[in-house]
């Protein structure tokens, strides 16, 4: 093999593994867009949180903090959800219509404050019990990222989207609401970053053994150099995508998601609980975003509260390329963006990485706004 071709093959391997992460991430946009008709611009912040949570879990010194926090949050969430469903909501419904929202807001702000006050001592006790350093296997860390992303995404649905839908707010209002949510999520991450690492610039715990059974040294086949972690990432990402495809086409909840994406009124006449489908969809989107974030962190070994910004551009380009709301399109778009980025880095240098994505987005919007797999508006059934 001469040098050029082996470099090319090398680049293709890199592009494929990065493309898998992009595809995973873009799927979250597509899922939410398909039912909401609005881009969830806080999805990139979920990605960042997925990366952040994964990094904390892999860092032996921070893992106990993550675990104590998670247990405390879990302990408090179950009674508070029950309280909300059984007591707060029924009582609110008795109030005159105009005051429901206002009283509801106050009750919930007070409740959050109380939860925080009760949660802190619980956290304190837990952190005292746990050892000072803990080594968490990467697979468990991955589960943390996936669940964390999913839960954050569901919280977004309840706080940033559902209240607006309830009053028939315009789509633009929902879009703006999601931007606001993204700002909050990034700010909280900044505070957490600063508190945990005394810094806001990029970081990743070094020398963590990502997966004990995966060799850390590079495989060398002929002229090719393959990092095993990239292969693992590719396998995980593809596995998740296949699972999603199966779920959407073969399972009852997947069918219901498609029905709700098509028309919510008809869906409710078919006995489908539309709010539940929203929750499941947001959870899945967030879980995929969290997974993508974790894998991204493992590849680039650099996580900051701001990694969502450039991935947002990539993800948006991917779904616009593939056709908004199309699941297969998002996957295709993710891989295309990765290939174009890799090519531009190879031929033009890494400073064009983001510029080339932006140009791509611009060109697609100009030439084929319905995307590659999307149908033109007038042909849509």
């Amino acid at each position: 093999m001469d040098l050029l071709t082996s470099t090319t093959v090398q680049q293709i391997i890199n592009a494929v593994s990065v493309g898998a992460i992009y595809a995973l991430f873009a799927l979250g946009y597509a899922l939410v867009f398909s039912i909401l008709g609005v881009l969830n611009l806080a999805h990139s912040a979920i990605f960042m949180w997925g990366a952040f949570i994964g990094m904390l879990a892999l860092d032996p010194e921070k893992a106990p903090i993550l675990i104590a926090f998670s247990i405390a949050a879990l302990l408090l969430s179950i009674p508070s959800i029950l309280l909300e469903k059984r007591i707060v909501q029924p009582q609110l419904l008795r109030l005159p219509h105009q005051s429901q929202r206002f009283v509801g807001l106050i009750v919930r702000v007070v409740a959050l404050y109380l939860l925080w006050q009760i949660g802190r001592p619980i956290y304190g006790i837990l952190i005292g019990i746990l050892p000072e350093t803990m080594i968490i296997p990467a697979i468990i860390a991955f589960v943390f990222s996936v669940l964390g992303g999913g839960i954050l995404s569901v919280i977004l649905e309840f706080t940033a989207f559902r209240p607006l839908r309830a009053r028939n707010a315009a789509r633009l209002a929902q879009l703006v609401s999601s931007i606001g949510a993204a700002l909050v999520l990034v700010n909280v991450a900044q505070i957490a970053f600063d508190w945990l690492y005394n810094r806001t610039e990029g970081y990743y715990p070094r020398d963590v053994q990502l997966l004990p059974f995966i060799p850390t040294e590079t495989w060398i086949i002929g002229d090719l150099r393959i990092t095993p972690i990239r292969v693992v990432i590719l396998v995980i990402a593809l596995g998740l995508m296949v699972a999603l495809q199966y779920m959407v086409t073969k399972t009852q909840i997947g069918q219901q998601m498609r029905a709700v994406a098509f028309n919510q009124r008809i869906s409710s006449l078919l006995g489908i609980d539309v709010s539940r489908v929203y929750i499941v969809t947001f959870f899945l989107a967030g879980a995929f975003g969290g997974a993508a974030g974790m894998l991204f962190g493992m590849v680039f070994l650099n996580v900051t509260p701001f990694i969502g910004e450039s991935i947002a551009l990539v993800g948006l380009t991917a779904i616009v390329l593939g056709g908004l709301g199309s699941i297969n399109g998002a996957v295709l778009g993710g891989f295309i963006v990765a290939f174009i980025q890799t090519a531009s880095v190879t031929f033009g240098g890494s400073s064009y990485r983001n510029a080339i994505v932006f140009i791509l987005l611009f060109l697609v919007l100009l030439l084929r706004p319905q995307g590659i797999l999307g149908q033109a508006e007038e042909n849509r059934a």
Binding site: R265, I266, A381
Partner: protein, 243 residues
């Protein structure tokens, strides 16, 4: 579904229903009832409030006041999916099939509300026997069907949900005369199985042939009611609504 012996209780009783779109009142306090095994028809001109009535019963619209009782249960204010899960099924007006899903998926998508899972497959075979066209095209996208086939699919999908009351909103709308006859033959068949039907129609002549009892709706109010024969003999109504 076995029809229970005639009882004095209506299966659906709507009392003084008022529904508005914002500040515009579309239903001005309407009351009517449906008895076991009956086909009741709601007729009226464009914009009279027929679809609004069905959508309020189905829980898609919230009533300002009034009460809806279904099999002696007050279902006023329940969400649409909860009402559907009580097997009060609406086939909405227009071609409301899920165009990007296959014919088979459309037929099956409502069946999750059933508890008798074992009988779902038998019912599906029954539907396919009744509509061979749907069987031939079961793997095709529902959007590729003709208008008449889509209407049959919509009714078939409703039957797969085992309705205890079937509400049909203008099932013959936009269909060629031959297909209109086919739709009404189907309604007669459903009636003969003992499934009660609330039929909204603009084609009042056809509706009167099949209905046991008729309510005439005008600008959000019930202005007349009677057995199909009584309404048919009323020349005023005939001229106003049968054209």
């Amino acid at each position: 579904m076995k029809s229970k012996p005639e009882t004095s209780h209506p299966i659906l009783e709507v009392t003084n229903l008022q529904t508005s779109y914002g500040s515009i009142r579309a239903l001005n306090g309407i009351s009517f009832r449906i008895m076991h095994g009956q086909v009741v028809s709601l007729i009226g001109a464009n914009g009279a409030g027929k679809s609004t009535t069905l959508n309020t019963i189905s829980g898609i619209l919230k009533a300002d006041t009034g009460q809806i009782v279904f099999f002696e249960e007050d279902i006023t204010g329940l969400s649409a999916h909860h009402i559907t899960r009580r097997h009060l099924i609406q086939v909405p007006e227009g071609r409301q099939i899920i165009a990007n899903m296959s014919v088979l998926e459309n037929l099956m998508i409502g069946a999750h509300i059933r508890l008798d899972k074992a009988k779902v497959q038998t019912d599906l075979e029954g539907i396919f026997e009744r509509f061979p066209r749907l069987q031939e095209r079961r793997k095709q996208k529902a959007g590729s069907l003709s208008g008449g086939e889509q209407q049959m699919l919509a009714v078939g999908r409703a039957l797969m949900m085992r309705p205890r009351l079937l509400m049909l909103d203008e099932p013959s709308m936009g269909l060629a005369p031959l297909l209109v006859n086919e739709v009404f033959a189907l309604i007669a068949e459903i009636k003969s199985q003992g499934i009660p039907i609330l039929l909204v129609e603009q084609n009042a002549r056809k509706a009167l042939q099949i209905a046991d009892y008729v309510y005439v709706l005008d600008r959000g109010q019930i202005v007349n009611e009677g057995s199909a024969q009584e309404i048919q003999q009323d020349t005023d109504i005939l001229s106003a609504y049968l054209g």
